[in-house]
Point group: C2
Chain length 189, copies 2
């Protein structure tokens, strides 16, 4: 998606050779016009999948998922962090390892809001190692819900998450794939 | 807002005499059509305030704020939780006490995204004691930003947050004010 690549190139803050921060328009300050264009693009890319629910994880996925959901006319459900197996039996739960924070987080979702009737589109802002998305797939598996698509804004193509999920057969669409960051220059793939 | 009151009455899950859960349409599973109507109503209520930024706090405020922001044509910034004063000098920080969780949480926002030029609308899903909103006002005060409005979906009218903020002179608009919950019956005020 050229619009998103341009914004990353123009405004993204590069740190070293593997981090590009986009918190000026995507995940701290949020540019709503851009989010609408992202939502429309997800709708176009997953038009054939008969999505009936969008699933994301708190916090930065929520805004993207909610704006996109308008174009699909479906509800959003977000997995909560810090919810562990001890909370009760009415939750599907899992664990997500964050390489950024170097720690595990428990995630959970109410069984009422994810069921075997669901054709799910998972949406998130970033994918690197794919831990968050794999955690969400785990919740869908427990519910018997079908994962019909995975829509990512920015994929770090030099980390394995996106590639692994495609090899597992999932329909993954990343709107911008960062192939490399070298000497302050981003190359998209 | 009759639409929201009706949904709370029809679907809200009452627990004891002081809790009504609305996680089936507002803050776990999110009904996007309802969110759009909420966004339009906030736009109508704050039309005169020349809002140029919407501020909220993760996690459940983000979806509401992002959908509403489309009707204002302004960006959203959300305060992050678990960000403390030690992170750096480029943040405005504060503390929010959660009565539900009986614990304090550090909140923070990048100084780049909240400035003295901002005319801020604070949006959140619930107000009870008003701790989260007061925390966000504190961040605005540090930035020299003006708080021109506070838009809340559900106010617990039997707890003091909304009343205190109105008495402090803030323009508070709650779309549904729960006056009381008695024997499983909700009365709106």
């Amino acid at each position: 998606m050229k619009l998103l690549e341009d914004r990353i190139r123009e405004e993204g803050e590069i740190i070293g050779d593997d981090i590009v921060k986009v918190d000026m328009f995507l995940n701290h300050r949020i540019d709503i016009e851009l989010l609408c264009e992202i939502g429309k693009e997800f709708r176009r890319l997953f038009a054939g999948e008969k999505i009936n629910k969008i699933l994301t994880i708190e916090a930065s996925g929520i805004g993207i998922a909610c704006v996109a959901a308008q174009y699909f006319n479906v509800p959003v459900v977000f997995a909560k962090k810090g919810v562990n197996r001890n909370v009760g039996t009415d939750l599907y739960t899992g664990e997500v390892f964050s390489f950024t924070k170097n720690q595990k987080t428990d995630i959970g979702i109410s069984k009422k809001y994810l069921t075997a009737e669901d054709r799910v589109l998972i949406i998130d802002d970033f994918i690197a190692n794919g831990e968050a998305v794999k955690g969400l797939i785990g919740l869908c598996d427990q519910a018997g819900a079908e994962v019909k698509g995975i829509g990512i804004c920015v994929e770090k193509g030099f980390q394995p998450g996106g590639k692994e999920l495609r090899e597992m057969g999932y329909h993954v669409e990343s709107l911008a794939i960062v192939k490399s960051i070298e000497n302050g220059v981003i190359t998209f793939g």
